[in-house]
Symmetry: C2
Subunit: 228 residues, 2 copies
C-alpha cells in the first residue's frame, strides 16, 4: 500500500461527541440524548452555512451558538453555569477506548499521523491533551487556517499541503460518512469508521474502506496485525 500518512477527523472519530450526553442528562433529566443529538446536528449545520456564505467564525463559537439554539428549540433553560459546564465538557471529550492503542501502533509503524478538524487550534490542543494523546500526532491541522469548515476543498487541502504528499497517498479517516465521502471527492484515500452501523450516504461515492472501529483501521493498514 502506498499510504504514507493518516489524517484523522477529531470529533466523532477520535473523540466521542455524544459523551456529553451524560452530563446533559444530569443537567436536563430525560432530555440529555435529545440535547446532545440536536446540538451536534446544529453545530454541523452552522459550519456548512457559514462556509457557503463566507461568514466563518471559530468552531468553539459555532458550537456555543448551536448549544444556545438547541436549548431554545427544546425549551430547556440554559443557565450560564449549565452552558459553561457543557462547553467545558466539549473541551475534554472522551476518546473512544481503542484509539490510544491503535494510534501508538500506527506511529510505531513509521506512519505520519495528523488531525484535520473543524475545531479551532485551542480546542484541538485541549482535547488532545485531555485524552493523553500528546506526542502521537505530527500535526494538528485546524480549518481555522483557511477560515472554511469541512467539506470545503480548502479545508481538505491542508493535509497534502502540510504533509507534502498527494491526497491519494494519505488515508483520511472519519466516523462521519459525509466527511469520508467528501474527502474521497477531494482525492484522499478514505476510511469510514462506521461505529453506529449506519447506512452509506447516498452521494454517489463511497469510502475506500469501512470498519466498525479503529481496530479495523489497523487491520486495513497492516492486514497481518488484526488477529490478536
Amino acid at each position: 500500500m502506498s499510504i504514507q500518512a493518516i489524517v484523522f477527523d477529531a470529533y466523532g472519530t477520535l473523540f466521542d461527541v455524544y459523551s456529553i450526553g451524560s452530563l446533559a442528562e444530569k443537567l436536563f433529566p430525560k432530555r440529555g440524548a435529545a440535547l446532545a443529538e440536536l446540538w451536534r446536528d446544529k453545530q454541523i449545520e452552522y459550519t456548512r452555512l457559514r462556509t457557503m456564505c463566507s461568514t466563518y467564525k471559530p468552531f468553539w463559537e459555532v458550537t456555543q451558538d448551536a448549544l444556545v439554539f438547541t436549548c431554545k428549540k427544546l425549551k430547556l433553560d440554559l443557565t450560564l453555569d449549565a452552558q459553561n459546564m457543557l462547553m467545558g465538557q466539549y473541551a475534554k471529550l472522551d476518546a473512544f477506548p481503542e484509539n490510544l492503542g491503535v494510534l501508538q501502533r500506527l506511529q510505531s509503524m513509521g506512519l505520519k499521523l495528523a488531525i484535520l478538524s473543524n475545531g479551532n487550534p485551542e480546542m484541538l490542543d485541549a482535547v488532545v491533551k485531555a485524552a493523553g494523546m500528546q506526542g502521537l500526532f505530527n500535526h494538528l491541522l485546524s480549518v481555522d487556517a483557511v477560515k472554511k469548515f469541512k467539506t470545503a476543498p480548502e479545508a481538505y487541502q491542508l493535509g497534502p499541503d502540510v504533509l507534502g504528499l498527494s491526497a491519494k497517498n494519505i488515508l483520511f479517516v472519519s466516523s462521519n460518512c459525509w466527511d469520508a465521502c467528501a474527502a474521497a471527492w477531494f482525492g484522499y484515500t478514505t476510511f469510514w469508521v462506521n461505529r453506529a452501523d449506519a447506512p452509506l450516504e447516498e452521494l454517489g461515492i463511497q469510502p475506500d474502506a469501512i470498519g466498525a472501529d479503529m481496530t479495523a483501521l489497523l487491520r486495513f493498514i497492516e492486514p497481518d496485525a488484526g488477529t490478536e
Copy 2:
C-alpha cells in the same frame, strides 16, 4: 418602503414539504412523520455537501437520493412503486392555504414576483402548475442555472441579476430561517415565515421581519391591508 419585487423560496414556503407525510404514513404506517422529516433534513444536507464540494446534480435527483437513504436508515423497504409514489407526490406538493390569495393581492399591487428555489426547472414548473399558480410569477428562478444550491451567493445572485434590482430592494421570503438569514447575509431585505413558531437560528443575523404565515407578509408590505 422601497421594495419593488418579492422573491419566494418554494419548498416549505409556498409548498408544504411535510404534506407528503400523509402518503408516507399510508405506505409506512406509524413511520410517515419520521420519513418526511428525515427525508427533508437529508435532502437539504446533500444540497449543502454538493455545493461545498462542487458536485452539483439536480434537486430532483438529490431528493431521490435522500429518500433512498432515509428508508435505509429507518429500515423501511422502499419498493420502486413506493419510491415513484413519494417522488410523484413531491412534484405536486400542497400549497399552504392562504398563499394563492396573498400572491394575487401582491401581484395586483404591481409588485414583481418570483420564485428562487433549489428545485430544478422541471420540478418548479410542475409544482407551480399543480398549485394553480401559473401567471402569478414573473420568473421561476432555479439554482440549476448556476449549479450551486442555496445558500451559495451565486444562487442568491440570480434574483438581482434577473430582476435588475439591488438585493436591498427585493424582499426575500422563506419559511426556512437559515434561508432567510443567508439571504440577509447576501444583502436582501428578508421576511421569515415562521409557521412552526421555531426559535431564530443563532447565526448572528436576523430577518428584517418575521410573521406566522403569508398573511403577515401582506401586512408587512401593505400595513393597512391586514385588518380584514
